[in-house]
Each structure stands twice: as C-alpha cells, then as structure tokens.
C-alpha cells in the first residue's frame, strides 16, 4: 500500500508558497484589496462539473476545492481537501482521508459530498466526465464514514490521481435543495456557488463575469499570505486590444498569458506591467492522417517532417517566443526523452524520402484554423517546403467548430492539420495516450495512427503503478513516434503572464494558468 500524505509533499509545497509570500512582502502592501482579471473567455456557467477548459479555470479553482491540487511549474500534485491518500497494491482502490473543512454556508465538507460530486460528474456526462468514464462506475465510490472516501476503479489507472483535482467537491445538501426537475442543480449552479474554495461568490452576470470575496474560514487558512486579497473579480473582455490597453491603463491587474507576441512586447514595454515568462505545457504540432494514402507510407511522413522550416517558424515568425519540442510531449514533462533531436528543415532528406515512397502521390490538404494566425502561417511554411520537393498542396482554413467536427471523421479529416494540445492533467497520458493510443482512434486519436509497439508501451504505462516503468515506456514511445514521423512536432508554448506591477505572489501552474488567487496580494 502506497501512501501520499502532507508530510513530504506539503512541506515542499509550503516552502514554495513561503517563497511566493516572500516576494509579496518585498514591498509594503496595503492589506486586502481587489484584484481584477480580464478574461478572454465568457463565464457562461459557474457549474464546475459542466466545464473543463483552461480559459474558465478561475471559477473552478477559486470557488471550489478538490481532493488533490496541482501546484507550480513543472506541476506537482499535492493533497488538498484530502489529508492523505492510500493506494492499494493492485492499483484499484484509492482511499482518501478528508481534512476538517467547511463549505461557504458553514456546513462541514464530508465524504458523502465527494461521493455525490463524482456521481454527479458521471451522470452529467459533461466537463471532466471523459477522464473518469470507463474507470469509475457510477455508485462505486463509497463513504464508510464522514472523513473517508473510497474509490474503487474497475481497471487499474495510473492517471487516476492526476485527474482527481477535477472532482470539484460540491455541497450536496445545498445543490439538492436547488434541483429543479431532476436537473442535478445545473441551472442553479450555473450562477451560484456551492463550494468550499478560497473565495466565496458575491456577484455573477454571464455578460460581465463574476466577483468573489475571501473566505476567511477556508481550511488552508490565510496565515501564509501576508495581505491576502479581499475581493477577486474576473471580467470577460473578449477583445485582445481592450485587455492589453486595460492592463496598461490600470483598469485590470492581470490577463491571460497566451497573447500574440506583438501584444506581449507592448505590455513588456509598459511601466505598469510585468510579464512573467515560463515554459508551459501546450504543444503545437501537425496531425498527420496516418490512415490515408500516401501518409500511410513512413517515407512520405518523413518527407513532410523534413519539409517544415522549424527554425524559420520559431525564430523568425514567433521571435523565439516558444521552445522547440521534437516529440509529442512537452519538454518539461517527465517522460520526454532528452536524446531525441527531432527533425530539421532539410529538403535534400525530404526529397530522398519522397523518392522512396511507393504509394502514388496526390495533392495534399493542409488544414489550418481560421482566426489562429499561427496555424495558417505554419501551413503556408510547410506548403512552401513541399512545393520545393514537388508535392502539390492546398491550404484549407476553417473555423474550429468545423475542424473539430472533421477531426472525428476518418473520411472528412484533413491530410494534415496544425493545432495545439493543451494540458488537462499533468501526466504524459494527456498527450501520448490520448493522441496515439489505438483505442482512441476517431475520438482523441485524430491521426488514425496505430502502432502495435507504441500501443503496448502506452497501455502498460496507463495502468502501471511503477513510476520507473511508466517513465521508461513514455520515453520509448516518444522515440518511436518521432522515428515514425507520426506527426510534425514543432514547439512547446511559453506562458507570458502579464500582471500589474502592483501584483505579487502569482504562482503559475499550467493547469491553473496562474489564476489561483489565494497566493496573490496587491500593493
């Protein structure tokens, strides 16, 4: 039986937190204050089980708590609402012991609330449902007493713990009291709060955003942060220019960290703004439809990989604002092998491989996402390289709703499609397992790629409880995927978090996007 508890993890975590607070105390801060964040996505619902995107993560991690939580970068997982977790040797049973914590209405957080929350996720089939589907059966989670929650998985899953932070714990009694016609309280929760998080909702307007006040009775306490925020406000500001100008003007204290480089430079030049640069976990790559000729031929795929001008794209078009990433896993994630150099822009090699292709050649469709200039630029750059070796191409630019529909259809899928893969949970399975496992074909494996050896490595890593085995498997899978040119792997994103110079203590984590506000203070 393995055990994770507060002792080791939380000590490290507290040390980092203390560091963050240390930064906060470098200048005298006025107690409290209001922090206003300009968010690019609209907060159309606050129900933490209905949404699962990075753009609206703030409402989930500030108003709600999970049993575990991700911190910092590279992300590390720590017990949060749980005091400790025990894992059975067969990897099927996870037993969490809860801390003493209270919901915003003063009632205690109990194991039955956790059971209600996971069953609600499974019943709603929204948000993070896909993380637990097939692994946790409805009704299988039990609460033997008020402080103990037992998850019994129907098959071993090494990624289960990594997904537990997405089980945001709801106040069962409060939600049930607001259910209408068996809607699981979705209508009520879309605009109200039933959590125990560090902040308590005070105002919400779907057209504007939401505001919350500090929850003084939060289980973690506030001793570690000097002058914690009194009020946080997340406003929807769709237009980039308005977010940038508002931050420079002092109307906002922070905005999202994935702005175009020209805007980042504009912000960095402002005396009112600090830009915090960190390597994130969001890779940019091109899907190659491995199931369609001539991409079924590895030589053709290698010709594609050699025909892309990586340095030109990264250094000239993106001004070096990203990190070259030769494999489908972020460089800073464990499981990324250090010995893979990746492909370079080499038209001679591309032509060599093209000459070895046995399948008949034809015009290749390069997909790009409308409104996402980088995908169009990358497609144009690849088109240029392929034209030089005699491969005819056409670029098809379509909006994301169109592309996301085609990605699930083998016939409609583009030959290639440039896009990003974000972090939903910090485990290599988030990338490799979902992008290249055979069982995910047509769902999350949009490459129609199925390699027996890669699949064996990924399947073993998905269930193994031995970290060394998992790491070795993922490293080898990366090598094979790179060798196979299963896709064109370009870069890992950097996060350029723009915050007012008055803001101290921001802790960036790729999953929370630097938006957990309990560590932040403002002068």
């Amino acid at each position: 039986m393995r055990m994770l508890d507060q002792s080791a993890g939380v000590r490290r975590f507290l040390a980092v937190a203390a560091l963050a607070v240390g930064v906060a105390t470098t200048s005298p801060a006025v107690a409290g204050g209001k922090f206003v964040f300009a968010n690019s996505s609209a907060y159309d619902t606050l129900d933490p089980h209905a949404i699962f995107d990075v753009g609206r993560v703030a409402s989930r991690i500030n108003l709600y708590d999970g049993l575990m939580r991700w911190f910092d970068n590279p992300p590390h997982l720590e017990p949060w609402l749980a005091e400790k977790v025990e894992v059975s040797d067969d990897g099927l049973t996870y037993t969490f012991t809860l801390r003493d914590a209270t919901f915003h209405d003063g009632s205690p957080v109990e194991a039955s609330d956790v059971v209600y929350s996971i069953d609600r996720i499974l019943e709603m089939k929204k948000g993070a449902f896909s993380l637990f589907a097939g692994t946790v059966e409805p009704g299988s989670t039990k609460a033997p007493d008020a402080k103990t929650v037992v998850f019994t998985l129907n098959k071993p899953s090494a990624i289960f713990l990594a997904t537990v932070p997405e089980i945001h714990v709801l106040n069962e009694e409060l939600v049930r009291a607001n259910e209408v016609d068996g809607d699981l309280g979705t209508a009520w929760l879309s605009k109200n709060d039933a959590g125990s998080g560090s902040f308590r909702l005070t105002r919400y307007d779907p057209a504007v955003g939401w505001q919350a006040e500090r929850f003084d009775d939060h289980f973690f306490g506030w001793d570690m942060v000097e002058d914690p925020l009194d009020v946080i406000e997340f406003r929807t500001v769709v237009e980039i220019n308005s977010r940038v100008l508002g931050l420079m003007n002092g109307d906002f204290h922070g905005t999202d960290g994935y702005l175009p480089q020209d805007q980042v430079k504009r912000l960095a030049a402002s005396e009112n703004v600090n830009v915090d640069e960190q390597e994130s976990m969001r890779i940019f790559y091109s899907i190659i439809h491995n199931g369609r000729s001539p991409m079924t031929d590895v030589n053709f795929r290698k010709a594609l990989a050699y025909a892309f001008d990586y340095d030109g794209f990264i250094d000239n078009i993106l001004s070096g604002s990203v990190a070259r990433d030769p494999v489908p896993l972020p460089n800073n994630m464990w499981g990324a092998p250090a010995d893979v150099k990746g492909y370079t822009y080499d038209l001679d090699k591309a032509a060599e491989h093209l000459a070895m292709v046995k399948e008949p050649l034809r015009e290749i469709t390069l997909g790009a996402l409308a409104g996402y200039g980088q995908t169009e630029q990358a497609a144009a750059l690849l088109q240029n390289g392929l034209n030089k070796i005699g491969v005819e191409t056409k670029i098809v630019t379509e909006p994301w709703p169109v592309a996301s529909g085609k990605m699930r259809d083998e016939e409609q899928m583009y030959d290639l499609l440039f896009l990003w893969k974000s972090t939903y949970y910090a485990d290599p399975n988030n990338w490799l397992g979902e992008m290249y496992a055979c069982e995910q074909i047509g769902a999350r494996n949009n490459s129609w790629y199925c390699n027996e050896e890669v699949d064996r490595l990924l399947s073993e890593a998905r269930v193994s409880t031995d970290q060394a085995v998992r790491q070795a498997n993922y490293e080898q899978a990366n090598r094979l995927l790179a060798e196979d040119a299963a896709g064109i792997f370009v870069y890992n994103t950097k996060w350029f978090g723009p915050f007012s110079t008055r803001v101290k203590g921001v802790r960036f984590c790729p999953i929370g996007n630097g938006q957990e506000m309990r560590w932040v203070s403002i002068d």
């Binding site: 619902t45 929204k126 779907p206 169109v402 769902a443």
Partner: protein, 352 residues
C-alpha cells in the same frame, strides 16, 4: 405650386388620416409574422448548412463519442434538419427560443439579460446622430459649396468610410489612454445600479445615484460616438439633400417674398419637409447601427447582444445566432413601423 405649406395644427391627424394610420399599422403588424418567419427560415438554413459540428466543439477535445451523442440527443441536433426547423418554429411560437449550445441556458434568458445594454447604446447613438446630424445637414445645405459644406462633406465621407473597429481603437488610444478623459471600456465601473429597467442611465436616475449616472455616461461616450459616426453621416447627407430639394420650392420663394425671415423659413418649414426622407433613413440607419454594434461592443467590451452574437457565431451556436437574428429583426421591424407612423406626424400633406 410644388410644395405645400402646412395647414392647421401640426402633428394632429385628420379623422380620415387617423384611420389610414391605423390601417397602415395593422397592415405592418400582419406582415410582421411572415417577415419574421422568412427571416427565421433563412437564418436557420444558413446556420445549418455550414459544415460545423458545434456539439463536438462545445463537448471539448477530450469528449468521448458517448458524451457527444448524449449532447446531440439533448439538443435535438441528431434529428433531420427539417424536423429541427419545425420543432424550432413550434418552440418560438410558444416563446421558447431553445437552449444555447454554448451557455446552456435558455436563449430568451440570455437575450433579455443583454438586450437593454444594446438598446441603450443604440438609442443614445441614434439620438446623438439626429441631434448633431440634422443641424449640420441643414447648415451644409444653406451654405452650399462654402468651406463649411466641403468640410462637412469630408466628415460624412469619413463617417461612411472608416471602419468602426479602427475608429473605436483610435478613440480609445486618444481619449482613454492618452488624455485619460474617458474610461477605456465596459459599461460601468463595478456592477452598475440595481436593475429596474436594465437601462443604466434610467436606473441610476431612478435610484437618484448621480455618481453612478456620471460614470455610466462616461462609459457611454466613446462607444456611442463610434456607433453614431456613420449614422450621423448618413443623416447629415439626407438632411442636406432634403433641405436643398425643399429650399428651391415655390412656397419658400412665396414665404420669403411675404417677408418671413429666412431663418424661420428654413428651420420651421423647409426642415419639416426635408425631414421626411431623413426619418425614413433613421429606420434603415438603425439596422446598420445594430450591425455595427456587434463590432463596437466587442472593442469596448460592452455586455450587449452584439458581443453575444460574436460569441454565438464563433461557437456555431445555432440557437444563439437565430435568437439574436430574430430579436434584432423584431426590433428593426418595430423601429421601421414607428418610422412609418411618424411620417404621418411630420409630413405636412398628411396633417390637417
């Protein structure tokens, strides 16, 4: 005599004309339903022939096939398009605009929450356009071919030619960033007055909260000016043309010969005749104004229907797009109905 000087008390309809106005109103109201139905069918068809899969989109890239199928069934998009259209028409007839695929709330609730913000901005912009555009149009006409006329022509051409989003950003940079005279964006600092009508100007007056009123007006200035600029240009051009047309009428010569001061002739009689064309334009201008509001609201982060429409289009939210189109079509038809009725009040030939 080509023109007709007004007779009787202005603004009073004769009994026969009252009946005509009533018939006109009823006639327009009867056409209201088929017009909206046509609008609905066209919008529905266009939004459904786009090869987008909004369900896969809202389900997210981690969604399973099971999740997507469940959502398709929930929203009824697994049925044939004609069936979906029929169900939608039945729903609308009962006041049910469906559920937003994106916000997952009733469309009616979303639209009602945002409509006041857009209407308030549009009304202020129309008023601004009229109050400034009409006098400037008269001035341009009475001083035809003077430097003032030429300068105003540059103004009107600019108003029609400059892209709203670019003009908006220029205004932001100058007045909010450089001079600091106005807020950069938003409708109000914080959360606004307690909602009664949803119109912040009215609500802050009702609450007797002058501080909020000043704040609301401050936030209104830049978006209203941006929105009214092209509308103002159109109104100015039509007023100028109308005044020039009317000023050459025999009745003007007659009144001037009778010794009526030129100022009185122009502002009291000529303008009244000239306004008929202008008022017609106000109805059309309102349509353009709503279209421009989509852009202006996005730039100024104005929490109205325009911003909602942008999000709905980006997410391929069929129901959101159709709800927006229907409500805006309704507003457009109502405004044009009011314009038609107002003709009766303005046109001297229709008054006793």
């Amino acid at each position: 005599m080509t023109g007709a000087a007004p007779r009787g008390r202005a603004g009073t309809l004769q009994p026969g004309l009252e009946m005509r106005a009533l018939v006109l109103t009823v006639n327009r109201l009867v056409w209201f339903v088929p017009t909206l139905l046509g609008l609905l069918v066209i919008t529905f068809t266009i939004s459904h022939i786009i090869p987008a899969d909004p369900i896969a989109f809202i389900a997210g890239d981690n969604a399973t096939a099971e999740q997507i199928a469940a959502l398709k069934a929930k929203f009824g998009v697994d049925k044939p398009v004609p069936v979906q259209l029929w169900n939608y028409i039945l729903g609308v007839a009962q006041g049910d605009f469906g559920i937003s695929l994106y916000t997952q709330r009733p469309i009616a609730e979303d639209l009602i929450a945002r409509l006041p913000a857009t209407l308030e901005l549009a009304f202020v912009a129309v008023i601004l356009s009229g109050v400034i555009g009409i006098p400037l149009g008269v001035l341009a006409a009475v001083r035809r071919n003077s430097w003032l006329d030429h300068a105003l022509r540059v103004f009107t051409v600019s108003g029609l030619a400059i892209a709203a989003f670019w003009f908006a950003i220029l205004l932001q940079l100058l007045f909010a960033m450089k001079l600091g005279w106005t807020p950069l964006q938003g409708r109000v600092d914080g959360w606004g007055p307690d909602p009664v009508t949803g119109f912040y100007i009215v609500d802050s007056v009702l609450a007797g909260d002058l501080e909020t009123l000043a704040d609301v007006i401050g936030h209104m200035v830049l978006p209203a000016v941006t929105l009214s600029f092209p509308a103002m240009a159109t109104i100015m051009r039509f007023t100028r043309a109308g005044v020039l047309d009317a000023i050459n009428s025999n009745y003007v010569d007659y009144q001037l010969a009778m010794g009526v001061p030129r100022r009185v002739v122009v502002w009291r009689y000529v303008l009244r005749n000239a306004l008929i064309g202008t008022v017609t334009q106000v109805g059309l201008v309102f349509g353009n104004l709503i279209a421009n509001a989509v852009v202006v609201e996005a730039v100024f982060d104005w929490p109205g229907l325009g911003l909602y429409a942008v999000n709905s289009i980006l997410q391929s939210d069929y129901n959101g797009i159709m709800g927006f189109t229907l409500i805006m079509g309704t507003v457009f038809i109502i405004v044009n109905l009011l314009v038609d009725i107002s003709h009766g009040l303005i046109d001297p030939r229709e008054t006793g």
